[in-house]
């Protein structure tokens, strides 16, 4: 076992002890019980494991937990505040921008990063920004609508 790694997750200081090379995804899911980020491909093709590190979307299945030490990590579990959904969560819910919902946390986190950088994206920008994410159920058109609605409500 390696030394404890300090992880700053959703505003809280957490500490994990992880074997060398453990992915951030496994650390979040298995050690911190944050199972919102999902495993699906293990090679950065699907985006289901997306979380934010210092505001940037990353594929947590490819990032070693140790490399995230001391950085600001945001996961889907941190979006809701005092029982109030984040505007993107509310918009995904209002548009039912999901079917099985397995890809939803990844789409949400990537969209959070997108709207911070670009508060009013066009549909083309949304599609191109989220093209690295897979929704096998095919909720894509609703996801674009949900991101646009969230952007319009934020303004």
């Amino acid at each position: 076992m390696a030394d404890p790694i300090p992880l700053h997750v959703n505003g809280a200081e957490r500490r994990i002890t992880a074997p060398a090379g453990l992915s951030l995804l496994s650390a979040l899911r298995d050690q911190l019980d944050l199972t919102g980020a999902k495993y699906s491909c293990g090679e950065g093709q699907c985006g289901a494991c997306t979380v934010l590190i210092d505001g940037k979307p990353v594929r947590s299945c490819l990032v070693p937990a140790a490399s995230a030490a001391g950085k600001r990590i945001e996961t889907v579990e941190g979006l809701e505040r005092n029982g109030v959904l984040h505007p993107l969560q509310q918009a995904f819910l209002d548009k039912a921008a999901f079917q099985c919902g397995y890809c939803t946390p990844g789409f949400l986190m990537a969209s959070v990063a997108l709207l911070r950088r670009r508060p009013n994206p066009t549909p083309t920008q949304i599609r191109s920004e989220l093209n690295g994410h897979l929704c096998r159920c095919g909720a894509y058109p609703r996801i674009v609508e949900a991101v646009r609605i969230a952007a319009s409500r934020k303004r």
């Binding site: 074997p19 090379g21 453990l22 496994s26 899911r29 298995d30 019980d33 944050l34 199972t35 919102g36 980020a37 999902k38 495993y39 699906s40 491909c41 293990g42 090679e43 093709q45 699907c46 289901a48 996961t75 889907v76 579990e77 979006l79 809701e80 959904l85 969560q89 509310q90 995904f92 819910l93 039912a96 999901f98 079917q99 099985c100 919902g101 397995y102 890809c103 939803t104 946390p105 949400l108 599609r127 191109s128 989220l130 093209n131 690295g132 994410h133 897979l134 929704c135 096998r136 159920c137 095919g138 909720a139 894509y140 058109p141 609703r142 674009v144």
Partner: protein, 669 residues
Amino acid sequence: MDPKTRYKIETFDIEPDRFEIFAPSAHRLEFSRREFFATLGAGILYVISAQDAAGQQPERIAMRLHLAPSGLITVLTGKVDIGQGLRTLLTQAAAEELRVPPHQIRIQTADTAITPDDGGTWASLTTPQTVPVVRRAAAALRQAGFQPQALQQTVASSVTLTDPKDWKILGTSLPTVNGRDIVTGRQQYGSDLKIEGMLHGRILRPPSYNATLTALDTSQATNLPGVRIVRDGTLAGVVAAGESTAAAALALLKPQWKESPLPDPSTLYDHFRKTAEAPVFQKGSRYPALLEAGAVADAMRTAARRHQTTYTAQYIAHAALECRSAIAVWEGRKLTVHCGTQAPQVVRRELAGAFRIPLADVRLIVSTIGAGFGSKHRGECELEAAALARAAGKPVRLAWSREDEFLAGYFRPAALVDVNTAVDANHRITAWDFHNYNSGAAGIAIPYTIPNYYCGFHKSASPLRQGSYRSLAAVANTFARESHLDELAHLASADPLQYRLRHIEDPRLRHVLEEGARLFPWPSRSKGAGLACTIEKDARLALFAQMESPAKVARLLLVFDCGAVLNPDNLRNQLTGALIQGIGGALFEAIRYDTRQVLTHRLSRYRLPRFADLPAIDVHLIDRRDVPPAGAGEAGITLVAPALANAIFSLTAERRRALPLSPSPAFKT
């Protein structure tokens, strides 16, 4: 006993296309009141077998509803939620008939210790089969005023269901009941579960497709702390306290394999022909493998013109985003498995058989599933987890990797379809001779009026493991039929829409075509437009497509009539998703393999539809409150390939008869 035969005898008929149910297990290996109330809490449990007026349904399905002192009503179903909206639809059905608000209803999905066996979650049966049963049970309970004594009388005298024209909750777009859990990340899928004290397993996979293990040197792997090597019949794996230790131990195993080559993929379709069996008529089957009328041979002889074509479809993968996982717990000789199967009772029987224990001693508790599309009908992962747990003497979690999904699961069957037709001097079709090799009987029936026809499904030997996929063989068969119809229209110099209408009597099918033509509009002024229509699982649908290039769809317009619509927004979501999924299989998805191994074993090698592939999509629903609703989770996928093939023909004058239609160069076989 063969699990298919067993299941068939004990429950109900399964379509012949469910190859995975016929297949042997992945490995050969040498309830009580307490459970109800532990899960549901105190209250009254009603077991209701409510027949309809004709005494027809629901044969053997007894519905279970539980009333808690708080007023919360739990509907127990053996079905599972795979993203099709099962919880929402059953909530609507129960709330409508009980006259209670939807938030007072809870749906308990498959837990074999407490829920009834109402069949696997497949074949779009939730709407036509489960919803009516829940409605009848709920209506009976309301009419009896929740009094058990009165309930017996109510059921005996049959119940009155709410007339669809008076629906207040059914027929509305009730939002997904677990939507908030989905957007907050709180929704628990099978792969999110943990159990106190569980260990982690890994399975040793062969380096080539059909290799078998002949020897295993475990000396190095056993040096790792806390690692247990498991060999049980044909299965080999490791168990350790953590996933990374299990992975490290697996890498230290030194196996020897006996390889056995696959037939050359370039000979696949010949292989199907060589190994084909004659179609056999099965009485009472949902998809008979043989349908015939008139005298095809005579009509062929006297034809003004004949047209003979062959269509093919490659193996494709389901690629549901959640990979399989299972946690197996043994208590003595009793086994509990937490998992994400679409067919809990099939897997339960498989496990009871594999471990030679009574069925009553196997309990499956199914979580919400990160989609299935037909991939999760067999207990490969559950069986492996249970074998590891039995050897380890502790609960074991086994989570499949994406590679496991590709290499140890099964694919949608590849297909070879011969279509041979005859027309008279007026270009009317007089004979239809249709043969599907290998992929299945679903969708061989013709919605056109043709006096002489022979439609048969020939079982063949498949080199790769194959099984159910969204709408089964209807994708390949509808592709062949609707492409061929377009070819006949072209040969007759007729408009493909008018040519179809000349052969269609069914008023609802005519209506979806005419409605689509009005909205699209058809005939299109631009090149690159194509259409297709079908009757699939009692639904009538027509799809109009506009292609920008042979590899890019610009627009899809679907007109869909499945009778009464239970939840319009959920139905639109399902149909849109089916169209998008259909684009993958139509244009570029294909499993590539060589004589040793499947080569497309990761998502970086297996292309799936993304935003960049997305056309503009319009879905028009025709809500017929007077027609009992047909299932709709699958049907939308069946028209994409033919509509796109027909659109490509309009664009390029090239007739493409092989799926995928436009494989990217790197993926071409």
